[in-house]
Symmetry: C2
Subunit: 138 residues, 2 copies
DNA sequence: TTCAAGACCTAGACTTAATCTAAACGCAAT
DNA sequence: ATTGCGTTTAGATTAAGTCTAGGTCTTGAA
C-alpha cells in the first residue's frame, strides 16, 4: 500500500482519502471475495474510526470506477472481486467460498443462437468441492 | 389448483394444508422467478391471513422436497424457480427479470479439466436485454 | 363423540445487510 | 482566517429473512 495505492485511485479518478486508501489496500489486493461487512471488519483493525457508511460508499465508488466487480452468487450475499477481467466462478458448497476460474478454463458454445436475447456478457457458475490443492492456490 | 395441487404436494411427502396449497398454486405454476416477499404479497390476495413466516417456511420446505429451486443471481435477491430441471439463466439488465434458457441452448466445454475442483453442477448466467419476442414467451 | 398429541400457523419481535440523513469535518483556494 | 465543497460520521431507517411463544387445526385412538 502507501503511495502505490494512492496513485491507483488517482488514476481511476478517485480522490485518495485516508479511508479510501485503507479500503483499497485490503480489497484491491485480496483474492478472497469479501462482503461489504467483511471489508468493514477488516479495515477497522487498522482504522478503527471508519464508519460503515464510508466502507459501503467506497466499495460502490470503486465498482462505479471499474476497480472492483460486485457479484451475488450464493446465499443472497453480495461480494466484491478485485479481478475485473472476464472469468468464471466456482463455489465450494461446503464452505461457501468462491474461487475465480480463468476465462480460458471453460468455453461456452452456441451463445449466438440465443434467439430473442441480446447478450452483453456471460459467465459460468460451477458448484462442488474444492480439493486442498485449489484451496491453497486461491 | 384444487385437488391436483394437493396431490402434487402429497406425492412429494408434504401435508397439503390450505396455506401450502395456496402457495403452491401460485409458485409452482408461474414461470416468473418471484422472491419470497413477492409470493407473500401475491398469495395474500386470495388468503389475507397467511403470515410471512408461513410463506417462508413453505417455500423452504418446497425447496427441500425438490419442488422448487432457489437462486440468488442478482441484486442480492433470492428467487424461487419452479423449473427444477437443468437449465441456464438470462438476466435482463434493464428490468432485472430472469428468464430460463433451455439446457440444450448452450454447451460448456472443458469442464473436466478443472484441476483441483470436484464439479457437482454448473450453469451459465447470461446478461443483456431481452427482445420483445422473448419477453412475451416467458 | 371426545380427547390428547402432534403438526401447523400466526403476530410480532428480532437480526442482519444495506441505504439514507443531517451534521460535522478537513482541506484547498482565496 | 474564511469560504466552499467534497468527504466522513453516527445513528436512524428500510428491507429481507429468521425466530419465538403461543394459538389453532387435524388426526387417530378410546
Amino acid at each position: 500500500m502507501g503511495p502505490r495505492t494512492a496513485n491507483l485511485l488517482r488514476d481511476a479518478g478517485i480522490q485518495p482519502s485516508a479511508q479510501r486508501v485503507a479500503v483499497a489496500a485490503y480489497v484491491l489486493e485480496t483474492c478472497d471475495h469479501p462482503t461489504a461487512d467483511q471489508v468493514w471488519a477488516r479495515v477497522r483493525k487498522s482504522f478503527p474510526m471508519i464508519s460503515r457508511a464510508t466502507v459501503y460508499n467506497t466499495l460502490n465508488l470503486f465498482v462505479k470506477k471499474g476497480l472492483l466487480r460486485q457479484y451475488t452468487l450464493a446465499d443472497g450475499k453480495t461480494v466484491f472481486d478485485a479481478n475485473v477481467g472476464r472469468h468464471h466462478h466456482f463455489i465450494d458448497e461446503r464452505t461457501g467460498r468462491i474461487y475465480d476460474l480463468p476465462w480460458e478454463a471453460l468455453s461456452v458454445a452456441k451463445l449466438d443462437s440465443l434467439d430473442g436475447f441480446e447478450v452483453r456478457e456471460y459467465h459460468v457458475v460451477v458448484r462442488g468441492r474444492a480439493k486442498s490443492a485449489a484451496r491453497r492456490r486461491a
